[in-house]
């Protein structure tokens, strides 16, 4: 057990690409926590997807031992928090687990919207915040301007900002000293009953569920009988340890310390991020504040491209769900796509991560249907239906009105792109709440319907601002609007997986755009194919895919019949990436691509 005064717990707040992972790697390396030969880039991001995308999905910690200039050895617990809006709740819990933050800002690019969102989590958690300017060795670095911006936009003192280059190692020693001298030691009472926060958890194939904990009061030991307050479940503790960053068992974790426990917990689902862990006997009664169960906000259907693989998909989804309590699923059957699952996610990134993992780790080709939000459908008889899937929309005659979720979006954008951003928000039914300036950049706050954002808003934002805008959002409750279900008919048959909820005033434009997109996406057939968008029985847009007129090999190679047969096999394989609707084959990618708007 480490003395409280020799512990520092901290997180790193940064925008993607501003160097969070590189700084973490440097801190680990320069303190000799990991031998140089074992170093690999972005040590803390353990999933392939995390490494590839440069994002963090699961919280992670590493315990660093550092001998400071004052001669004392300190235990520094770095927590790497998820860095995306989809995981805002997880971020807030991780922040509650530490006392301070390093605010890493790219000295050339300055503060981004995502930095803001996470720094607010840190401020809310009462963190001491040390500004760190990274990439000061770049020619484009403007440390003074960025310091000013930190003071203006975030409102924290940046006079003592640490200047570093995580890439080259400049200033890393200063960062370590700043952690020790400027961040507070945790407080806690070793003699009080055990009170620990469940920061995150994941499944380890050898150890079962691993729980990341921060001990507030009391002592957690191997063999203890613990209880989770939210689930009221009890478990005997098998193992207690710390991350260096590989798992290393220790005897006990005292107040202020971070580490892990394993306790024969079968599923990650049995653990709740933010839950309070205490001893079964003589434990605390009162839970830590701020606990919230996970709430999916975005839904979509996942169907196997090959219908025969439904059971494989079920198995894979179940396995994945064991490791992700925030992901929900139930079976769905679609007239068009057969059997699949309606899945709920924390946001679009979460959706993509899960889909990627299913395709990659479990090797199943998937058709993803249009993402949807949860609509509240108020029926005339007074009942309220939560609609996760436009295909389940009740008959219009029964509906009184519909409410949809809205968000508060914060967008930071260089002046020159402001016009485009405002137009984009306006086109997506946004209501402007605020527009202020921070240096040469505008900060726009918009109230937007989630369903307009859920799909390709972020992509569009990036493209209209050439990547210079940053974006963050929070949920803002429900509001009524004129929403209708739009159906798409291909060759006169409705394709339920392409149904979407749209605003009445935008339905026609949207319908036209979708029909036009599908005309590009569906290959020509031997016959012509009408594509229609319809609301109720009324067709609001129509396109026709003309019949294919020529598809024949001109020259048949001196008797090479094998080549012909191979061509046929190739055609057959191509067909496997398609789904049959009546006599029309639709490529699996069309279900998502059809929704992408080039407005």
């Amino acid at each position: 057990m480490t003395e409280l005064k020799n512990i520092r717990n901290f997180s790193i707040v940064a925008h993607i690409d501003h160097g969070k992972s590189t700084l973490a790697d440097r801190l680990i390396q320069s303190t000799g926590t990991v031998a140089d030969r074992d170093m690999q880039a972005q040590l803390l991001d353990s999933m392939d997807i995390e490494r590839e995308r440069g994002i963090t999905i699961k919280a992670n910690t590493v315990r660093i031992e550092y001998k400071a200039k004052d001669g004392e050895t300190y235990v520094l617990n770095l927590i790497d928090t998820p860095g995306h809006v989809d995981f805002a709740y997880e971020v807030s819990r991780s922040m509650r687990a530490v006392e301070g933050s390093l605010l890493v800002v790219d000295a050339a690019q300055g503060v981004e919207a995502q930095t803001l969102a996470n720094v607010y989590h840190a401020i809310e958690a009462d963190h001491e915040i040390v500004p760190v300017l990274n990439k000061i060795d770049l020619p484009a670095a403007e440390p003074e301007r960025v310091c000013e911006q930190i003071e203006d936009v975030i409102g924290i003192d940046a006079t003592d900002a640490v200047m570093i280059s995580a890439k080259t190692g400049i200033g890393i020693a200063d960062v370590l000293e700043a952690i020790v001298t400027r961040l507070p030691a945790p407080e806690g009472d070793a003699d009080a009953p055990l009170k620990a926060m469940l920061v995150d958890s994941w499944y380890d194939p050898y150890l079962g569920v691993v729980v990341l904990v921060r001990v507030i009061d009391g002592v957690l030991k191997k063999g203890d009988k613990i209880k989770m307050l939210a689930t009221n479940a009890s478990y005997p503790v098998d193992r207690v340890g710390v991350f260096k960053p590989e798992m290393q068992p220790i005897d006990k974790l005292g107040p202020g310390e971070m580490g892990f426990l394993t306790a024969s917990i079968k599923q990650v689902r049995d653990t709740r991020v933010g839950d309070t862990i205490t001893h079964e006997k003589k434990g605390v009664e009162e839970a830590l504040p701020g606990f919230k169960p996970a709430q999916p906000v975005v839904f979509c259907g996942l169907f196997p491209v090959d219908t025969a693989l439904f059971e494989d998909l079920r198995e894979s989804i179940e396995k994945l769900a064991l490791n992700d309590a925030s992901f929900s699923y139930e079976t769905e059957s679609s007239a068009a796509l057969g059997f699949g699952f309606r899945c709920g996610f924390l946001g679009l990134l979460h959706l993509e991560v899960i889909r990627d993992r299913l395709e990659r780790e479990y090797d199943i080709d998937l058709i993803t249907t249009a993402p949807s939000v949860i609509y509240k459908v108020y029926l005339r008889d007074g009942t309220i239906v939560e609609l996760h899937n436009p295909a389940d929309m009740p008959d219009l005659t029964l509906v009184d009105h519909i409410e949809e979720p809205r968000i508060k979006a914060t967008i930071l954008v260089p002046d020159e792109y402001l016009g485009d951003v405002l137009k984009l928000c306006q086109d997506r039914r946004g209501i402007q709440i605020d527009l202020t300036y921070a240096g040469a950049r505008a900060m726009v706050i918009y109230d937007l319907p989630l369903n307009e954002v859920v799909f390709d808003f972020y992509d569009r934002l990036k493209s209209v601002t050439k990547g210079y805008a940053s974006f963050d959002y929070s949920m803002e409750g429900y509001a009524e609007d004129q929403l209708v279900k739009m159906q798409i008919l291909v060759n006169d048959e409705p394709v339920d997986a392409l149904s979407t909820m749209v605003h009445r005033a935008r339905a026609e434009a949207r319908g036209r755009a979708m029909c036009a997109k599908l005309k590009e996406l569906i290959p020509q057939h031997m016959f012509k194919i009408p594509i229609q968008a319809a609301i109720g029985g009324r067709v609001i847009a129509r396109e026709t895919i003309s019949a294919l007129r020529k598809d024949v090999t001109a020259k048949c190679y001196g008797g090479d019949a094998t080549r012909k047969r191979k061509l046929l096999d190739k055609q057959k394989k191509g067909k496997k990436k398609m789904r049959e609707f009546g006599r029309v084959s639709i490529p699996q990618s069309a279900f998502i691509s059809a929704l992408k708007m080039d407005d």
């Binding site: 057939h525 090999t553 001109a554 046929l568």
Partner: protein, 384 residues
């Protein structure tokens, strides 16, 4: 009776060398300045003997010298090969012996010798009757030279055919039809008219992938060109007997008919393909494509073939249908069913009939005029 006997038996000989590689061509052709003609003759003879050992006795209906550019062969090589074929198997009295030729003055000088060697049909790669387009296609002859070679050929051979490539860059239907009429005015009795196809691994293929092969006619215009081609040829008495081949009745390429009627054919020379029924088992054979490698193998083993691949009956059925549906005469459903062990899906047949893509009369299945240009899609549907 084995299935191949419906189609006959031919021998294909591949000469893999060209003076230059054409940008559209993905055939097995190589540019080489030093060719040891004796060595090549002996190697081809050896492989012929090996093939004859495999097939056992049967009569040869057709011989085809393809390439590459077989008109670059020495006439005595051609002569020796024809003689050897006759010795090994025996040529039918009216056997068709074709040779592909470049229409240049140099090669035209050899036509008399080829004729003396036994060649009785010549197929000339004229490709275009427009000098600019010939350059764009990488051809080394001019229109004038080609027409001269054609006249020489007509004097030497009873049967002369030539190839044209259409749906070329910047070519409109109108231009093509005019060019086609010009070709038909030359009083040919056989034409092979291929739409330009962009193949991977060719220079055109590379340009196309980079977006640098522009002004190809759009698919609809190419379809119009195809339909118009058939009509115009018919006006001149040449009926389209295969997707890209047109002939006066009786002047069809009998060698190619063996492929399309799914007969047996031996394949001699680098990169040649064969279908041979050996001990009642139809077998796919093909030789190594690299000239030197093939030569070395022949020296060692008397042949340059890869391991033979016995074809399952269902694969034979697929091959039969894919080849025979190219023919205007269509496929014999009895033959298909005998090979496949089952009928074609009647739902699919009915659907395609309803779309006007195919028709059946008795046991004959044919693509219609509408279905013919869509043969690949149609076969994919039939064989799904």
């Amino acid at each position: 009776m084995d299935d191949w006997q419906h189609g006959g038996f031919g021998v294909y000989i591949h000469w893999p060398f060209c003076l230059a590689k054409c940008p559209y061509c993905d055939f097995n052709s190589h540019v080489s300045r030093n060719i040891d003609h004796e060595l090549w003759r002996d190697a081809l003879l050896k492989e012929l003997r090996h093939s004859a050992l495999l097939t056992g006795p049967r009569k040869v209906d057709t011989v085809f010298f393809g390439g590459g550019t077989p008109s670059l062969m020495r006439a005595d090589t051609v002569s020796a090969l024809i003689d050897e074929i006759d010795k090994l198997w025996g040529l039918n009295p009216n056997a068709e012996i074709s040779l592909e030729a470049n229409p240049t003055s140099v090669e035209a000088q050899k036509f008399a010798d080829f004729s003396n060697a036994g060649v009785n049909r010549i197929s000339m790669g004229i490709q275009s009757l427009n000098d600019n387009d010939l350059k764009a296609l990488g051809r080394m002859h001019s229109v004038k030279e080609a027409l001269k070679a054609f006249d020489i050929a007509k004097a030497q051979f009873k049967r002369v055919s030539f190839d044209l490539i259409y749906a070329r860059q910047k070519q409109t239907a109108k231009h093509w039809f005019a060019e086609l009429r010009q070709a038909l005015d030359l009083a040919v009795d056989h034409l092979s008219l291929y739409q330009l196809t962009i193949e991977q691994g060719t220079r055109f293929g590379d340009l196309y992938e980079k977006g640098n092969l522009r002004h190809l006619p759009p698919s609809d215009e190419a379809a119009d060109m195809y339909l118009g081609t058939r009509e115009i040829c018919a006006e001149y008495g040449l009926y389209g007997y295969e997707i890209s081949n047109y002939a006066r009745q009786g002047a069809e390429s009998r060698h190619n008919l063996i492929y399309w009627r799914y007969g047996d054919y031996a394949g001699i020379g680098p990169g040649a393909h064969a279908r041979l029924t050996l001990d009642h088992q139809r077998t796919a054979l093909h030789t190594h494509t690299q000239p030197q490698e093939w030569l070395d193998l022949v020296r060692e083993n008397n042949h340059g073939m890869h391991a033979p691949e016995p074809l399952a009956l269902e694969d034979q059925a697929i091959e039969y249908l894919m080849m025979s549906m190219r023919l205007t005469e269509g496929s014999d459903l009895n033959r298909y069913e005998a090979l496949a062990g089952q009928e074609l899906s009647s739902t699919r047949v009915e659907q395609l009939k309803a779309l006007g893509m195919i028709e059946t009369t008795g046991t004959t299945l044919k693509a219609t005029a509408k279905g013919r240009p869509l043969l690949n899609s149609l076969l994919a549907e039939l064989l799904r």
